[in-house]
């Protein structure tokens, strides 16, 4: 699916987003290291899938990239320009190129605006068309692209089902002709039969408009289906990055191995006979993460070194893996 081009559209280097959660004036300073030194590239026309369990920092990473949160350090290079510190006018014009689709199709649409107003709003903010007639025409086009009817334009979000609302959200994100869309769990609030509709829609829009996606989800089967590349996150760190089929069939990092083995396979013969790796324990708190490798507390292959030192990403074939096991 991806065109072979040398330059990534988005390049993230050593990005850190921390939140201050200190309670009280004189209490010791406490910091949640939600994203703690993440690097990856997204090529034009490519879908980069970001997976991980809740609390691993995948949504924070997505929100930092669209500049809803400010990073503490690191760089976000979008089309050759570092956007991690931009403000004001520059930020506004950047937002035109980078849009977001949210998880909850109920909370992300204003219930007091009609569908037409919702989709038109970004066009007005970014001053894209000269008059309302042109905007309306574009709204009708967008509604058709996402599979809704032109006469839906005067209706309110409450009149639509979850899947249809997500389509409205997609139409809104397309309104400013973006180059990049961050999809934050766009299907996890939807029913199975509706999920496939939305996934197919996102894929066909990508093909037509040449978009790049950062697709954040915890449903590993869907992420694998839609993505060209997958990044696996754990406790604010990127554990493994690589082409989706390779990562799925030959996972290298012990965490990826365990995570993939935990997916319930929708096939009784495989599911009932498959030996699974059941991870012990839970994700440590990001306020007080383990000193060495973040996964060392649950990893069956952990050594003393893993508990003391933090592994850096190593290139293994077409993959980047943060694990000492693959050091030469």
């Amino acid at each position: 699916m991806s065109n072979v081009q040398d330059k990534p559209i988005l390049s993230v280097r050593d990005l850190k987003t921390h939140f201050d959660v200190t309670k009280g004036l004189f209490a010791p300073k406490q910091v949640v290291k939600a994203v703690d030194g993440v690097s990856f590239d997204v090529m034009p026309n490519e879908t980069f899938g970001l997976v991980g369990e809740s609390g691993c920092g995948k949504s924070t990473l997505g929100r930092t990239i669209v500049k809803l949160y400010d990073p503490v350090s690191g760089s976000i290079t979008f089309e050759g320009k570092d956007i991690s510190k931009i403000k004001g006018k520059e930020l506004k014009s950047f937002r035109k190129d980078m849009q977001m689709i949210f998880q909850d199709p109920y909370a992300s649409l204003n219930p007091r605006m009609t569908v037409g107003e919702i989709i038109k709003e970004p066009m007005i903010i970014h001053n894209i068309y000269d008059n309302d007639e042109q905007r309306e025409k574009r709204v009708v086009e967008l509604l058709e692209i996402v599979g809704l009817k032109p006469d839906h334009i005067r209706r309110y979000p409450a009149e639509f089902s979850g899947g249809q609302r997500q389509r409205i959200g997609i139409a809104r994100s397309l309104a400013v002709n973006p180059k990049f869309i961050v999809c934050d769990e766009p299907i996890s609030a939807l029913d199975v039969s509706i999920q496939a509709q939305v996934i197919n829609l996102l894929k066909s829009i990508q093909k037509e408009m040449g978009l790049s996606y950062l697709f954040i989800a915890h449903d590993l089967s869907m992420v694998k289906h839609i993505s060209d590349k997958i990044g696996v996150m754990y406790l604010g760190h990127m554990m493994e990055v690589g082409p989706s089929n390779d990562v799925y069939h030959r996972p290298l990092h012990p965490y990826t191995v365990a995570l993939l083995s935990a997916i319930p396979i929708p096939d009784p013969d495989t599911a009932k006979n498959k030996g699974r790796i059941i991870l012990e324990g839970e994700i440590p708190s990001p306020i007080n993460p383990p000193k060495g490798c973040p996964f060392s507390t649950r990893c069956s292959k952990a050594t003393d070194r893993c508990r003391q030192e933090r592994p850096q990403p190593i290139q293994v074939g077409n993959r980047l893996v943060s694990c000492f096991l693959y050091e030469k």
Binding site: D191, V192, I194, H225, P268, L279
Partner: protein, 333 residues
């Protein structure tokens, strides 16, 4: 005789817009020691079927028809004239021979009571145990569901537990009185994948080691494939197909089942083909369609489907399906 027998169950809800027919003529049975999966999308009536059986419907809900036999005893709502009588019988059963595991452990557990109090409660209510005996049993249960250092944990409050650990507590409470039937309503939906795997493994062990029957309500076909012996597919308030796990996954007869199976991504499959979604959305149960509930989304819909509800056709002693396609007499128009 089957442990649980449900015949022609109908449940309606009174709303401002009219009566919502949430469960429409549902019949099935559960044998001792088996796991029955009930699969359906939101609004298909899978949870309301179960709430109707154990008498936990919301205040505006009402069982309008049907017979429920549990453990040889008739516990249909219709059998009792007074609500109080019914409630008495049901509260005797619930938490005792019939237990439930809910989706969200935090709404099930009382946040201001210690785990100890909540674990001991069903034992004190339903058995003649002394408090000391009940506490011993509670510790045993916590060990059984894999909670480390139970002696320390038992004096803690729910907020001190993580999501997966809370769900283990809920399972321990359900198991307290050695129930004959456990109804699990989406027990792993709120959990992360690696934690879900832990809980599924626990349920799988319990299934092998006890002779309790489990009804597993879920929308996740992966969970069904892993745990269930038989599967019922619900749509629009009806069971459209029921069969063993292999019959449902490898030889589905209803277009909805086929559609459901083809719109999930199987991670074992590497091809770049599009998923086949089911077009449209589920029917409005305020005014359910006269014929088959799936008619508006079905790629094979015929004239007869719109007018008449298809009969249930039997393919094997375990496999039944309600679809006109399986009826040769139905005109292919």
């Amino acid at each position: 005789m089957a442990l649980l027998e449900v015949e022609n169950l109908c449940t309606e809800f009174k709303t401002d817009q009219g009566r919502v027919k949430a469960v429409r003529d549902v019949s099935f049975h559960v044998e001792q020691g088996e796991v029955l999966g009930i699969v359906g999308e939101s609004g298909s009536g899978k949870s309301q079927t179960m709430y109707s059986i154990i008498g936990l419907l919301a205040a505006n809900g009402e069982v309008t028809n049907g017979k429920v036999t549990f453990n040889g005893k008739d516990i249909s709502r219709g059998k009792f004239k007074k609500k109080k009588e019914y409630e008495q019988v049901m509260s005797e059963l619930r938490g005792n021979t019939m237990a439930m595991i809910f989706q969200d452990p935090m709404t099930f557990l009382n946040p201001v009571l210690k785990i100890e109090t909540q674990l001991i409660e069903p034992l004190m209510n339903h058995t003649k145990m002394t408090k000391a005996q009940a506490r011993e049993r509670a510790l045993e249960l916590m060990r059984l569901v894999g909670i480390p250092s139970p002696e320390k944990r038992i004096t803690q409050y729910p907020f001190e537990f993580s999501g997966g650990m809370r769900q283990r507590i809920v399972i321990a409470i359900a198991l307290a009185c050695n129930p004959k039937l456990i109804i699990a309503d989406e027990p792993t939906t709120a959990l992360d994948v690696t934690i879900q795997a832990q809980v599924l493994e626990l349920i799988d062990t319990l299934k092998r080691e006890s002779d309790s029957a489990i009804i597993m309500i879920t929308h996740d076909l992966g969970v069904v494939a892993k745990l269930c012996d038989r599967v019922a597919i619900m749509y629009g308030g009806k069971i459209v197909e029921i069969g063993t796990d292999r019959e449902i996954f490898y030889d589905p007869k209803h277009p909805y089942t086929t559609g459901l199976l083809s719109c999930i991504a199987n991670p074992e499959d590497d091809s770049d083909h599009d998923l086949t979604p089911i077009a449209g959305s589920p029917p409005d149960l305020l005014n359910p369609p006269k014929g088959c509930p799936f008619v508006d989304r079905c790629p094979h819909a015929m004239k007869v489907c719109k007018e008449y509800m298809p009969d249930v056709k039997t393919f094997s002693p375990t496999h039944e399906c309600a679809c006109w396609l399986n009826d040769r007499k139905a005109g292919k128009e």
